[in-house]
Subunit: 427 residues, 2 copies
Amino acid sequence: MAKILLKNAEVLGADGIIKSADIAVESTLIHQVGEISADWYADKVIDCTNKLAIPGFVNTHTHAAMTLFRSYADDMELMDWLQNKIWPAEGNLVADDVYWGTSLAIAEMIKSGTTTFSDMYFHMPQVAEAVAESGIRAVLARGMAGVAPNGEQALVESEDFFRQYHNAADGRITVMLGPHAPYTCPPEYLKRVANLAQRLGAEIHIHLSETIGEVNECKKNYGKSPIELMKDLGILECGVLAAHCVHVSEADILLMKEANVRVAHNPGSNMKLASGVAPVPAMLNAGLCVGLGTDGAASNNNLDMLEELRLAAMLHKVHALDPLLIPANTAVSMATANGAQALGLGNVVGRIAPGFKADITLFNMHAPHWYPRHDRVSLLAYSAGSGDVHTVMVDGKILLENKCLTTLDEERLMYEADRRGRRLVKP
Amino acid sequence: MAKILLKNAEVLGADGIIKSADIAVESTLIHQVGEISADWYADKVIDCTNKLAIPGFVNTHTHAAMTLFRSYADDMELMDWLQNKIWPAEGNLVADDVYWGTSLAIAEMIKSGTTTFSDMYFHMPQVAEAVAESGIRAVLARGMAGVAPNGEQALVESEDFFRQYHNAADGRITVMLGPHAPYTCPPEYLKRVANLAQRLGAEIHIHLSETIGEVNECKKNYGKSPIELMKDLGILECGVLAAHCVHVSEADILLMKEANVRVAHNPGSNMKLASGVAPVPAMLNAGLCVGLGTDGAASNNNLDMLEELRLAAMLHKVHALDPLLIPANTAVSMATANGAQALGLGNVVGRIAPGFKADITLFNMHAPHWYPRHDRVSLLAYSAGSGDVHTVMVDGKILLENKCLTTLDEERLMYEADRRGRRLVKP
């Protein structure tokens, strides 16, 4: 049972206050924080002088294997981009591509301080394999599109995937059901998803109200907003992680609060795709749990949670012309504790406290942009870069040590991703 | 005369196309790009395999020494922040503080790929000293506030500073006049600045139309917008670099175009301070030259031009709900060639081409977030981080080599900045 001591760190507490402390890690858990008992001995000691220890970032919404399409097509209208670029390229994906694309994404996420991600894609056993091998934590959902020819198959695969992988990899993998969106899943299909979810005790990860076009179409077809439709179909009762929620009304937010819908806010994707600005301050005021996500690297185009955190802190200020919105502490919580809660892992990760899983990211603060040190939370939120991530631990295991990956062969990943990415987009 | 060969680079051309090429640097200049003449020999060869060579970033608007107030006060109303935090702390600044704060800023800028910056502050001889020692290029302006007790002194100092430092440090330093803003410089004062500028042949760096409050106040007091007022006072005739221009009308933009006003767009500062969204697409459509700036690190809170470039590419898309606005190439040009033009250095820097000054930034592309390589300009604009900056050259001299500063004592800078920063904010 490995015992690791993080010595002389500056530790971000659940109260948003940073204090000098040691962290004792035993097996997969945080054993003690602060002054460590005199009779506790570590197998390994990491000197954390000038390091900021925070709970690892939780990326609540991505499509990891889409790294393979990173930089393939940008600055386009959404439907033009999807129909003429992304969907044809995705049509060429085989299971091995998803394995390698996901592994590349995991390498990028670990190197930028993310310890948990929530994925929705397909060929999910390959995604689970990449997660298991790498040591990262993940919440996985097989994306299901009811309108697609494989809509039936997706339901069967989702059930199989849940039964086989929920709580797999020593509990690092949990599974949700992933109906893609109201515009790709007709009501009857969504009812079947809700039934399956109830039967399995699974929660649901779904895209909701991402664009105004989607909301208008939903209202035209069903006379209600996507949120209202989800309520009527029984989806909200299952426990829902809703990605985007850009175009939700005050009435929608009330329904979401009643059903404890958790939101994955993706400011980078929403900005780049020009989807709009989600009413995050209103959602937070209503008491909703809002985490942050990068969305896939084809639309973002990276998996850098520090960038999302900063965008969340800055976008809503300028949008509402109110510099008090989403202060640094709130943005950091959204990227950590709130994200964990959004994924149903609120009692497992997202805090550096005894009993929580040892999912910890260390930032090296010894660089010009971290000085002077008037306020370390401000420095993290507004000044730091993901290049400052120094060491990352998940489940008590070190996955990044002094910027080097310990479980993944980075050279091989870059090679495979480049050659596969090129093949996928060949006309 | 040093001769340096950058071998096997991928080089961003003025046309926005990236090609494999070698770059021959002789003394301060780019001598050749592409295949190098067989009879040309280098004293030093830098292997640029997997490196992207771009013209160094041009930061068109900052207050470098304000790094000392980084993280001191955030998430506040503008006037509360200025009156109760920034101004009292600035009141404690002595000349040596400005030297050290500026030096810290220069270290941060070099490490994040910036080769030229445009500064407006005070104790400018100390700023010039820091610039001269570090090897960076800068356009410096002594900030002048006509309403301040030292308004007269500022005019005298500005003239002295121009005479002594314009084209100093082997031409790496040029000088502008820096009347702070219409709300701190009454019309009579601005007329005197315009006269001084004409007499010296100096251009003018000024904050214009940053907040809606400023514009409304100007209209109330003078019956015209800040841009109209500047035209009437003769300021625009001097050649103007205008910072912010958030709240400019279509009529303002026409006046700006007539007078060839160049704009320093600061998306990060405008977002964090909730100033608003500048009509950059309209300004670009009108043919204005728009560069990018970080503003001071107290309001941003870093000096990372890659972050500004990305914000410029993303903010305008979501603001206008148009994903085609400010594509990657445009954003990169704004951060390089347009920025150079905005500072009056368009024929000197901002391009990797023979005859231009050798101001070059190399990005290390060998990292997960740079794969696959479908489009390197997209990767730079949407995926890269300033942590990827590997080597930086200014005026043919290497200032950053494999991420290490060659001209600055980074440890000393961090030490001085931290201790001075703490002293300045003591109640």
